[in-house]
Symmetry: C2
Subunit: 228 residues, 2 copies
Amino acid sequence: MFKSAPSREHDAEARRERLLKAAAAVFAKDGFEKASLRAICLKAKANVAAVKYYFGSKDGLYREVFLSICQESMKEDAPVTLAEGGSPEETLRRWIHYLLDHALLKRTKNPVMSQIMAHEMREPTPCLNEFIKLIFRPFHQELERIIAAVMGRRAVDEDCVLYCHHIIGLCLHYDHCRVFVDRLGPPVPKTETEVLRLADNIADFVLGALVSRRATKSKPASRSKKKP
Amino acid sequence: MFKSAPSREHDAEARRERLLKAAAAVFAKDGFEKASLRAICLKAKANVAAVKYYFGSKDGLYREVFLSICQESMKEDAPVTLAEGGSPEETLRRWIHYLLDHALLKRTKNPVMSQIMAHEMREPTPCLNEFIKLIFRPFHQELERIIAAVMGRRAVDEDCVLYCHHIIGLCLHYDHCRVFVDRLGPPVPKTETEVLRLADNIADFVLGALVSRRATKSKPASRSKKKP
DNA sequence: CCTGTTTATAAACGCATGTTTAAATCTGCT
DNA sequence: AGCAGATTTAAACATGCGTTTATAAACAGG
């Protein structure tokens, strides 16, 4: 006893899909708060009440968008991993390039995902927890393993996790504070080759840091360099 | 022929001051967009129309708040500089600690300034340019000089500026993406000693990186490590 | 004391938001 | 054909915002 005939079902599905697609675009551009249902429905050629009908509320719509782009993102490009072969150093370099590519050149691969993630980091929504669990944590953990490998440690320890934050923050800064960076130094990369250059600069910087910290273990008690 | 009698003058000034103070607090908490005039006036025990009367508009009020906290911030704690003595490395360590202190422990020193700056970086307002010119650029340039000193260079070059961005991004990440860091690793420091620990970790990391890059000049052409 | 200017306040304006209602339309089944 | 249920739509609702207006109060000078 299926709900309705195929023809209508098709129309409904098409409308739902249109709404979802329009919503994804607008949410990506403006973020959850600033995106308006009217703008979305205008783009989808649908009535505002359709949102309530199909998704219950603005929150529901956003959640659906989130889920759809999640599973779309899953099957797309796998993030950089150690398993692909190559030295840990080269893997880290590729990882940094990958992150920077997504953060700065959002047009590549899955632009909607990149933009929505950026918004989610600026002002978290109720989807934050799922976002972290499904998308961010696996990504983060792979970097932790890469760092542990670069540092020659058998397992991921607290230092690796911290360095992981350092690196991600360093990269995302060029996106989050784009307007500041642009005004205070060489402009933020806008082409693939420029991004590659920056990625290499960052990779050199980070590898230098990690290698220099390779020897130290757990508690280096650093603060005591006051003229020995 | 001064405009009015002292008693009235005093009241008016007091009201203006109350508004300014309340506005600073609310802007600091919510940022420019989300802060509402009604909330500000409620806190200042003033009428909403008073904002138009004294400051012309919400923008005008924000601009006044910005100017007032600027000159307040000028005379307060001078940022860390090379001139204070000590090795460049130690100066850099202190600089990082100083930034982290302001970013994470906003209650210290000038909380309003720190918070408003954080908001300004997230979503810039029309005051952005003045903000950069008056506050951010001098701060940034001092870091550039420190880095140049650490790297033993005679003048600030493009690499120094980039490293500067790296370091600032690395530090601010713990504030901007606090909620992410909290969920993915050791929680973001909340006490002075914790902040000091993190600052030392970051300083060690950064110094390692800078020292390792000390030898290289201008164009290291890094990308060519593909199995020699 | 009256008068005109400055200051203060309450109320309304115009707009935009997410949500909801209630009526209209369409569809499939009997 | 006709009915019942699903879908669509336009309109209204409730709320919040920054801004504006019109009126009342406080004050200064003639």
